[in-house]
Structure formats: structure tokens, C-alpha cells
Symmetry: none
Subunit: 224 residues, 4 copies
DNA sequence: GCCTAACCGAGACGGTACGTCCGGTCTTTTT
DNA sequence: AAAAAGACCGGACGTACCGTCTCGGTTAGGC
């Protein structure tokens, strides 16, 4: 969590009361090395096999160096997942295809995101930790599902603005459907997040719920 | 998983090659005692605090007796959850209220299901284990969400039959929305499954997706 | 210990109040089978490796059958050792060679007694149990060393009678030297009971202590 | 056995190839604490009652710390006994009383050696373990009996030098009589090592075997 | 020729110690 | 002062084994 904590620094204050740091400075390269090592180990031995000693050895770091940065194994893994997702998803530049369906389809790149064993194993460990540690559940879950839900909401707000969707639709709720079902399928059911599944939700639920009955042939049910 | 194994018996074969079991029989009362003890311990000390010694002591059983039945702590807890759900849900007699919305509302009794600390803690442990053990994920998840999804599907088939819902609606997919989102909210997000949340999904997603725009005032978005 | 217990029967009483035993009789062949199995297992896996289940399996017996006869593993092994020694040593017919030294030498047959791995392993287990179980120490030890000490004493009494040894010699103590040192060497030191060692004791201790300085060249010290 | 291993260091070699040890050093105080705890537990609960968890708790140590030093319970106890004997016996300054009998009598202080429950229980455990573990038997046994036998031999060599004992006597063998019979009596027979027993051996065996018939009234036989 | 008690082999049971592993902390040396 | 290495405490894991018990089946008397 040091990343977050490090952003807590209030800049621009008149006086910084903290004394000048003495002695050797923290080596910033260790953070990334440890996070990468954690992700590697997760992908190799799985959620139940990960060990702090293993991570330390892989990172070429001492356990003290890890515990100076993260207070527990759980928080290290949460940060590692956040680190992974940060580098994976790019919610910043959202292309405008002109239709809601096109926008949503453009958001997901199944190849990069889902088929990676690395990402899948990380997700499993993540779910495991959330269930173990009540305090992390909310923050951790939001860090993963949040960005996608935000993007969905933005797309739907655009669709309302251009008249594609009625203003009375509950887009706040609908925007959460696909992200949370994708998370459930990946984390709990351990099934791959296929395009077929995505299209079922899209055309069987989201489009009808928003009153969009385009000239699209309805897809079959996935039969989960 | 011994329950499942017992169903492996092939009946009706000409010759049963298995020899008569010799020695003392397994005491079936130990199964229930151990499962109950596991659920008790889970509810008391939580998912991360459960211990085989604790379960054994609570059950008045030796550890050998537990490990003779389940090969690991993970599988014991999965069976304990299945045992709990079996005794908790009663999907057998489904009242017919005449409308899909009424049927679905009648299915959920939030008090019994959600407010129970026992059930909630059990679910947390369950999610933790599913993420650990790939092989258990599918079966375990299905055992929990499955019955509810089946009930939803049945209600929607009735609604189609009575003309309330169009035959072209993808009820196979829609029937999974609420169960899986409820599971996600409970297991991963650790948030309570409130009536407000349920109504958001119901009136903001399911009803519109099935083309039912009744004279019901739409509820506010939950803002997850 | 059933052998000993069975001799507890008081015969000659006026009335035997014990009712006629009903039901199936104990199968006497099981006693020997179990004792032999115990000795086999001891010789194969050693003192620390012996297990009641192993003995039962080897004997083709149930554990209940064993525990009906002996109250504990310790007592079974003590009896097994006694059984072995009973069949091994024949203190009954003691040949009279005319000289004490000849009598004593004739008593020991190193080949049969000492080089047997079976006997050695049994002895190790025996020592282990004696040290564990205070109550067995005296009886067990006497059962092994006793017969030899008795034979030694008898030979020395003969020697006193024929004038070979002075009547003032403490033959009660001297007769215990060789048996107990042999036991110590075998049980504790785990060294073989060689003829060389025996002759050292004989000619370096026993003969001089009894005042017999025959025309025998003194052997070298063993240098334990 | 780490004590012994530490003596394996070859000194005087041109180059010491072993690199500087890195990381935290082993805490030498833990060795003593664990050995003392083992001896305490032995004296309190006996040989069959000792437990590694008990030793760890008593020493305030983790089990890992114990198993990092000794590979098994057996070897820990052997080392504990060696540690006890090292601190118990003081064979260094042997008083010269002028007569062999006086020297030998002066060596034994029955109070310190025998009446101590602590020492006795330790010895029982020791015998039990020796019988279990062949590899330990010789070294362990020598560590206990050795020092006493050495002292006896020294006394007898003095006696030969001063003409009290004939040069042809096999003092190498005779010097082992009392130590090994004392060990046998204590370890196997579990009987106390009384002064009466000692005098029987002394005056009934050792003195006559060495040709010393002093003006001492012969004691009665012990009748083991 | 049954009836019934005690036997038998097999193996499940409660309890407990084993030796291993790992989370989080502390110590030593080097940078 | 931070870093790498690794020892340290505490405690859970899954295995093994003791002595007891239960199961179905066998072997005797006694009726």
C-alpha cells in the first residue's frame, strides 16, 4: 500500500516538519522488483503456494526489505494486483465508435486480459485474500472492478446524451452488470472470460435492459 | 467428498465385484458431527482462523477420523458449505404468485440468508478456498449459485408460458444475473445483500431486459 | 504376561467358584503366532520401528486378539523376549566337565546366541522397553540374566564342593559378573559378545577373583 | 550433535575456503537453554513422557530452532545427557589415598550421583534411546561409562606402580567391572546404586581378582 | 439341532506426538 | 540507515500409531 500512502503527501505546505532523512535512501528499484517477483511466484505456484520467502528469493531481496514496505502478505498481494491491473488496462483514452455496443466491445481485449495464465492466477490469489481479510475486500474489489464500471458508465452516459438510450434507464446499475459478472466468472468460477460469454451478457441483458433492440441476431444463451 | 463417491455405485449390474466390506463400519454420525463442527468454528473464528485441531476438538473426533474422510482442510470446508446450503435452501416448493416479479421477490428471504453471521463467514471461507483450489471452483460454485439460478429460470419459463415475457428473451442468461451478482457482492465485496440492492437489479436490469415495464416506479441506482 | 497369569491358578481349593467358561475357547495357536510375529518384526524393523498393527498383520491376527492377551506393547515384547530366551537357552542339563572354567566355557555357544541379528534386535527393543517402563525393569531383566547367573552359581557351588574354589569366596557376587557384563555389552553398547571378550572376563576377573591361577596364559585385555 | 561437528574444523590449512557466514548468527544461548529444558522435562515427566513441544515451551524456543540444531528427539536427548555428564563428573583431580581401595571408595559420591531423580530419569531415557538408535549406542555409552573406567584404570596403574597389585593382573579388564555393572544396574535394572552393592563388587570381585586380600571382613553377597 | 456367549480378523475411532513449514520479527554484516 | 541473509518464536499442517470399540462371522458348549 505504499504507493497509495506515498500519494498522501501533501505538497505545497508552507513548512515541512519532517526532519531531513538521514542514512541510506530507500532503493526505489526494490519496490518494482518485489512486486514483479510476487506476480511471478503467484503465476507459477498459485495462490496457495505463495510464500514470503519465495518472493524474497525471487526478488533477490531480504524479507526485511519487503516488510519495511508492506505490513503483511495480504497487502503485498493486493498491491501487486493493483500494479498488474494498472499496467494492463488503459481506461484513459476511450475511443468513441458512435454506438454503445461498439464502444463496449472495443473496451475488451480478451486475448491480452483473460487468456494469460499469469493474470488468472493472480486473480485467484486475489479472491482468496479478499475473503480472508475483511478490511481489504472493499478497496481491493473496487480497484479491479471500478475502472471497468466507470468506463461502462461513461459510455452509457454518452449514449443517453446522443439519445440512443432513454434517460429513465438505470444506467448506474446496468453499468455494473458486465464487470461484476466477469469478475465472478473469473475469480469464483475459474472459467475463462470468453467472447461468447461477453456477447451473451451484452445482447441478452444489457442491450434489452437499455431498450436497444438493434437489428442484431440474438446470440444463444451460454448455459453456465 | 465422500457423499459424491457414494453415488458412484452402479446398480443393476449382474455381478457386484466389490467384496463385502470387512471390519468396523464408518460411523455416519461422525460425518455430520464434523461438518457441523466445521461450520461452528468457521462462524466463530472466521475463515482464516479455522484449524483442523479446533474442528476435531469441537466435533469430539480425532484428526485421523477427519482425514480419513476428507483429504485436506479445503475439501472439508467445501463439503461443509454444500451441507449448509443443502439444509438452508428449499427450492422444492416454489409458490406461483402469478407475476414474475412477485415470484422472484418471494424467493428471497433476506433475514434467513444474509443476516446470519454463520452463513456469511462460511461464505467467506468458501470463496477463499475456491480461489486456492482450481478443481473445487466449478463444483463448489455451482452448488451455491446453481439452485437459485434454476429457480429463476423456472420462474421465467413460467412467465414466457403465460405470455408475460417474450419468447425471444434470453432467459438462460438473464436468470443468472441476480444469483451471480449476489454471490459476487457477498463473497468478494463482503457487502450485505440488502433488499435495496436486490430491487436495483430487479427493476433496473431484469425487468427491462425481459421487456416488462410495469407500473412500478423505478428505484434509485445503488451506486456500488 | 498371560503365561505367568495362567500359573496363578490356585489348585487344590475345595470349591472352584469360577463358573464354567462359556462360549468359544481362546485359540492357543494365536499366542505363538503373535509372539513369533513380534520377534520377526523386531528383527526386521528394529525396536523403534515395531508397531502393533505390523505385528497383527504379520500374525494374521486382529489387534483385539493381541490386546485380549497382553495389556500393552511393552508387555507383549517382554513376553516375546522371554519366549525367545526360553527356546534358546537350555539351562536344564548342565554338563559337568570337572573344572569350573570348562563348565563355564561349555555354557556359552556364541554362534547361536550372539551373532543372530534376530536375537540382537530383540535385545535392543528389550532394553528400550525396560528403560521406558519402570515396572517391567526388574522382572524383565531377571528373566534374561537370571538363568545364566543361576547356572554360574551352580557351577561355582560345584567347584567349592570339589575344593577347586575356597569356601570364603563370594561366589554369589562373582556369579553375576559375566551375565550382567554380557547384558550390558549387548544391550547398551550394542557390541557383539565375542569369545575374546568372554575370555577376558573369565581369565582376567572371574578366575583370579576365585583364586584359581591355572597354568593358563593370561589373555590380553579387550580394551573396551 | 552440533558440539561435535564444531570440532571438525581443520585448523592450520593454508586457505580457509569457507566464506564469511552471512545473516544472523545462531544464538549460542539457545543451545544451553534447550539442553537444560530437555533435562528438566526428562526429570519431571520421565523418559516416555518427554515431548518436543514440551521442551520447546520450557526453553521458550520454537520447534524450528530445536530441529535446526538436532535432527531428531533421540539426538537431542543424547546431547543433553552428554551435557549433563560433562557438568556432573569431575575426573580431573583424583585424590591419592595411598591404597587402591581407598582411591576407589573416594571416587564415588553416592549422594550426588544416584539419589538425584533428575540424573536417574535422564539415564533411563538415555538407555531407551541407545537401544533405539544403533549409531548412538557406542558414542553415548562411552561418554557415560568412559570417564569412570578411565579413573579406575589410573588408580590401578598407580597400585601396580607402588607394588600393591601384581604387574600380571589384567587391570584393563578389571577397571571396567564396576563402571559397567553400575551402569547395568542403574539403566536396565532400575535399581539404586547403593554402597552395599558397590562394596560387594569391590571386596567380592575387584580386590580378589587383583590379589589383594586385605584384613577386611568380606561383605555379604548382594543377591541381585 | 438350535441358542448364545465368547472368540476371531478387520479396521474405524479418540487422542496425541511427530517433524515440517511458514508468517512476521530481530540480528549481523555489508553497502 | 537501508539492504541481504538468515535465525528466531509461535503455531497449524498432515501422518503415524497406541489402545479401544464395533462389525460380521465362526466356534464351541448347554439346552
Amino acid at each position: 500500500m505504499n504507493q497509495r500512502l506515498s500519494t498522501d503527501r501533501r505538497v505545497g505546505e508552507t513548512v515541512d516538519v519532517r526532519p531531513t532523512p538521514r542514512g541510506r535512501k530507500r532503493d526505489p528499484s526494490r519496490d518494482a522488483a518485489i512486486l514483479e517477483a510476487a506476480l511471478d511466484v503467484l503465476a507459477e505456484v498459485g495462490a496457495s503456494g505463495i510464500t514470503m520467502d519465495l518472493v524474497a528469493e525471487r526478488a533477490g531481496a531480504g524479507k526485511g526489505t519487503i516488510y519495511r514496505r508492506w505490513p503483511s502478505k495480504a497487502e503485498l498481494i493486493v498491491d501487486a494486483v493493483a500494479y498488474l491491473v494498472r499496467n494492463q488496462v488503459d481506461v484513459e483514452h476511450l475511443p468513441d465508435t458512435g454506438s454503445l455496443r461498439g464502444d463496449l466491445l472495443g473496451l475488451f481485449k480478451p486475448d491480452a486480459m483473460v487468456e494469460s495464465t499469469r493474470l488468472l492466477n493472480v486473480m485467484r490469489a486475489f479472491a482468496s485474500l479478499l475473503a480472508d481479510d475483511h478490511a481489504l475486500a472493499d478497496a481491493g474489489s473496487a480497484a479491479i472492478v471500478g475502472p471497468w464500471a466507470d468506463a461502462h458508465l461513461l459510455f452509457m452516459q454518452r449514449a443517453v446524451a446522443r439519445g440512443e438510450v432513454s434517460a429513465s434507464a438505470d444506467i448506474g446499475t446496468v453499468s455494473q452488470i458486465l464487470p461484476s459478472m466477469a469478475a465472478y466468472r473469473t475469480l469464483i468460477q475459474q472459467k475463462p472470460f470468453t467472447e461468447e460469454f461477453m456477447l451473451s451478457i451484452m445482447d441478452g441483458v444489457i442491450m434489452p435492459a437499455l431498450g436497444i433492440y438493434a437489428a442484431i441476431a440474438p446470440t444463444k444463451s451460454t448455459g453456465v
